[in-house]
């Protein structure tokens, strides 16, 4: 696929602080990309550089084959929506939407037609004459979105657009925005610190940390095959265990040896093992398979559709695992605190990272 937006070797410094460190990224036409990372990771700075609001210190940005690196925002082609909505408070919803359409060339009737079309699209037809203060948070965000899309920009930038809304509205709008984006086919970049938002909405996720890109991939890739402990830890819940490589497909964890892929690491290398709570399997029968640990339930938390169990080994092992157990299993086996369980860590679900930094 030809790339619509091409960012090459972008660096942004604020005084001595490096906010973006040599970023390169390509985004295809019509793609929905999320910049995801903790606060201060540079995701907003990158978005602002693309918009021309904070011009980069070095590097190049091309949009649709055109070098836009040095252009001011007015000369670029994008629409933007902010967390604060930034709706003009003294203009009605309809006038906000019309704001970018009104110029000498466009006839009034044409503007009015486009505005009502956009308001319809957003389900806001009844609210056109209201002022922003008279609209709910979700409605305001929809007006902001309509305003950004009114000029049919080639690129839609969303800066934490859902963060100021309450949970229910947020989930609903997530779905709506995604649907709309797919229908219009507009290339979209959304900045968020909410992993769930990124996982459910994005075609591709760019995970950022400390001004650099940690990993780029589809939501499934990012979740299943995180390439660094940072990504593994930041997305979803992950167990980390310290171990040592002892041979081909063998890592020692306390007194137990586990079978897993060792990525060609030499024997004796300190490593960090990672496995997700939902990938841990509880043995129903006798524990004879490899990769089986016998652990005690230290705490059980009911999370609605499943239980999250804190499992501990004996003191000398120091193993602490969180495992998601089906409600049905807990009931059937009568599992409670202090129950002993045999759990299997499937070899293909264990990821391994060099270094012994156990997170948390």
């Amino acid at each position: 696929m030809p790339s619509y937006l091409r960012i090459s070797r972008l660096t942004k410094k604020f005084g001595g602080f490096t906010a973006l460190d040599d970023i390169s990224l390509e985004i295809a036409e019509g793609e929905f990309v999320c910049f995801l990372g903790p606060s201060g990771c540079g995701k907003t700075t990158l978005l602002r550089a693309i918009a021309g609001l904070d011009i980069q210190t070095a590097g190049r940005i091309e949009q649709n084959g055109r070098d836009i690196s040095a252009l001011p925002p007015t000369k670029r082609d994008f629409g933007i929506v902010f967390q604060s909505y930034a709706l003009f408070p003294n203009l009605t919803a309809a006038k906000n939407v019309a704001y970018g359409l009104q110029n000498a060339r466009t006839p009034r009737a044409e503007v009015a037609r486009r505005v009502s079309e956009l308001l319809d699209l957003m389900g806001l037809s009844a609210h056109g004459t209201k002022y922003p203060a008279q609209l709910s948070g979700g409605q305001q965000q929809r007006v902001a979105l309509a305003r950004a899309l009114a000029t049919s920009p080639g690129l839609l930038l969303l800066d934490e657009p859902l963060s100021a809304l309450d949970a229910k509205v947020r989930v609903h709008l997530r779905h709506e925005i995604k649907q709309l984006q797919r229908r219009l086919g507009v290339t979209t970049i959304m900045v968020t610190h909410d992993q769930e938002e990124a996982l459910t909405m994005a075609d591709r996720i760019v995970v950022m940390n400390l001004g650099a890109i940690e990993q780029v991939g589809t939501p499934l890739e990012i979740y299943r095959e995180p390439t660094s402990p940072f990504v593994a830890d930041f997305i979803g819940v992950m167990n980390f265990l310290a171990g040592t490589v002892v041979g081909d497909r063998a890592v020692r964890l306390g007194r137990t040896a586990l079978d897993c892929e060792i990525d060609g690491l030499a024997a004796g290398t300190e490593v960090t093992l990672a496995i997700r709570p939902e990938d841990i399997v509880v043995h129903e029968g006798r524990a004879t398979e490899p990769n089986t640990l016998t652990l005690r339930v230290d705490a059980l938390a009911f999370l609605g559709s499943f239980f999250r169990a804190d499992l501990v080994g004996d003191a000398s092992d120091g193993v602490l695992l969180r495992a998601d157990l089906p409600v049905d299993l807990i009931r059937r086996r009568g599992i409670g605190e202090k129950s002993m369980l045999s759990v299997l860590l499937p070899p293909d679900r264990i990821r391994i990272y060099p270094g012994s930094t156990v997170h948390r």
């Binding site: 021309g52 609001l53 925002p73 933007i80 003009f88 203009l91 008279q134 009114a150 000029t151």
Partner: protein, 544 residues
């Protein structure tokens, strides 16, 4: 945008920075404009008649501050922490002194305590002409300024702190010392410095009622107008700048800290009825309010009777200004012209300037410098600015000297003189707007001036009106800024008050001062009506 910053920046440079710089240079020059180093300063400090004024100025300033701030604090406390009736009325009364020139209390005090005054005996043989009169007049003039600052500080009270203190069984006195006073601390410090600076730099009161008691401000006037000794005038001006700049810097530091207090999510405090305390506060407010009003009432009364208080026959004779020593009725119309021009042009310049400082992107150095220049007038006494204007605009080589003694230069001077407060008001309003408005507009390919006109101006309309009325009222009352630069055709009402007082026509001076007062009252009422009307017309979006 840079162009606009440049134009208004150039205005501030030409109307403020260059004149002040030139004045500083003049203080190091001899009569033939030769450089004489510190000779003028040496002469100043070796002439007791001159340097004594420093002590005099400090003495009346400290005394006025010590009286005004506590008086205003108790008044503010009564307005915010008691359940006295007519709080709105008492607040309005307290703000009356803002609407009159600082010459007026002096005139009224002459009538009350002067050689033929009604209450002369109350001074136990002391003369009102001197420190006593100056201090009384200054307390009147500075009272509303101190009150407004302290009211703002007390209004910040967090009810939760009081509830916590009560729950911990603290006594009323302990709550006052541990909650109320610390909460108002910055307001009190700020009020102290504002009062102090106002008194040190005030020219009106000591001119009218100072008698032989010389202070720095009257010295500048005497050196320049009386002795035509411009170099010595510049030296005194520089000395006058020192306390003003010091107070200004302290005040800024304090205000910066007060902002941090504001950000807390406070629950507003609602005073509970306490009959005895409320009664005491009511009595206090009545006494203070009566004192303030009586100054104005005496002036008005004296202006319409033949010879107050001995011949109380009503007469309009004192209003026949054209036959008196001042600039006649023409000066009154000049003042209105000046006030309108200052108000309209000044509001425009100040607001656009503040917008550029706040909303422009990049060009940080230029914006920083601009902001500094905008803050500077607060620290520059009017007389100093006026003298600096003589040096700058009257210089033969300056192409701008065609402006000298015209209405234009008066407008330029008055806008600069009162620039800072307007600038801060505009900045506050602009900072309440979403910083992303400009970004959104840019993404919608709209030029910045369209957003400025369609969004920024309408949203900030109430604040622009506040700036306009502030400029108007001050242009009507100011004496110190314009006393050196008015011409025969541009004499102003407040200057006429000064000149008629000089020629002994005190009743006419009082009459003219009251004309200024009524004009300002009318302007304020018009402002109120206009604000209400505009709010209905254009601020519908504020209602939910």
């Amino acid at each position: 945008m840079r162009l606009f910053i440049g134009v208004i920046g150039l205005y501030l440079v030409a109307a403020l920075a260059l004149p002040l710089g030139l004045m500083l240079a003049k203080s190091f020059e001899g009569p033939q404009e030769e450089f004489v180093g510190l000779a003028n300063y040496v002469r100043y400090f070796s002439t007791p008649a001159l340097f004594q004024s420093i002590g005099n100025s400090l003495w009346v300033s400290i005394l006025s501050t010590v009286i005004t701030v506590p008086t205003a604090f108790v008044y503010a406390y009564a307005l915010t922490r008691s359940r006295i009736p007519f709080r709105g009325f008492f607040k309005t009364v307290a703000l009356v002194p803002i609407l009159v020139p600082s010459l007026l209390p002096g005139l009224a005090l002459v009538y009350l305590f002067g050689n033929q005054g009604l209450l002369k005996a109350a001074l136990l043989g002391h003369s009102i002409y001197g420190p006593i009169g100056i201090v009384m007049a200054e307390v009147f003039t500075t009272f509303p300024h101190a009150l407004l600052i302290i009211l703002a500080a007390l209004a910040l009270a967090d009810a939760r702190l009081y509830e916590a203190a009560v729950a911990l069984r603290a006594s009323r006195a302990r709550i006052f010392w541990t909650v109320t006073l610390p909460g108002a601390r910055y307001g009190l410090i700020s009020a102290t410095f504002v009062v102090f600076t106002t008194v040190v730099t005030d020219f009106g009161a000591p001119k009218v009622i100072g008698g032989q008691y010389n202070v720095l401000a009257t010295d500048v006037y005497k050196q320049v107008i009386g002795q035509q000794n411009f170099q010595m005038g510049a030296v005194v001006s520089v000395i006058l700048l020192v306390p003003a700049i010091f107070a200004f810097l302290v005040d800024r530091a304090v205000r910066r800290r007060q902002v941090a207090l504001l950000s807390a999510r406070a629950v507003p405090f609602e005073p509970k009825p306490q009959p005895l305390f409320d009664l005491a506060m009511l009595v206090y407010c009545v006494v203070v309010g009566f004192a303030l009003l009586s100054i104005v009432a005496v002036s008005q009364f004296a202006a319409v009777v033949r010879f107050f208080p001995y011949n109380l026959t009503l007469t309009w004779a004192h209003y026949d200004f054209d036959q008196k020593g001042g600039g006649g009725w023409a000066s009154y119309y000049n003042s209105i012209r000046l006030a309108l021009l200052t108000s309209v042009v000044g509001t425009f310049v100040v607001f656009v300037g503040a917008y550029l400082v706040e909303k422009a992107r990049g060009f940080a150095l230029g914006r920083g410098l601009f902001h500094f220049l905008a803050m500077l007038p607060m620290a520059v006494p009017g007389l100093v600015l006026g003298l600096a204007y003589i040096f700058f605009f009257n210089a033969p080589g300056n192409p701008l000297n065609v402006l000298y003694r015209t209405m234009t230069i008066l407008v330029i001077n008055t806008i600069v003189h009162f620039y800072t407060v307007g600038h801060l008001t505009a900045l506050t309003a602009l900072r309440q707007m979403d910083p992303e408005f400009e970004t959104v507009s840019a993404s919608l390919k709209q030029p910045f001036y369209r957003t400025f006109w369609r969004v920024t101006v309408p949203v900030c309309l109430p604040s622009t009106l506040d700036i306009a009325i502030y400029m108007f009222v001050n242009a009507m009352t100011t004496v110190s800024g314009v006393v050196f630069i008015y011409g025969p055709k541009t004499e102003l009402a407040a200057i006429s008050v000064l000149n008629m007082d000089d020629t002994g026509e005190i009743a006419s001076a009082a009459a003219m001062a009251m004309m200024i007062f009524y004009t300002n009252v009318a302007a304020r009422m018009l402002h109120l009506l206009l604000a209400r009307w505009l709010e209905r017309r254009t601020q519908a979006w504020r209602r939910r």
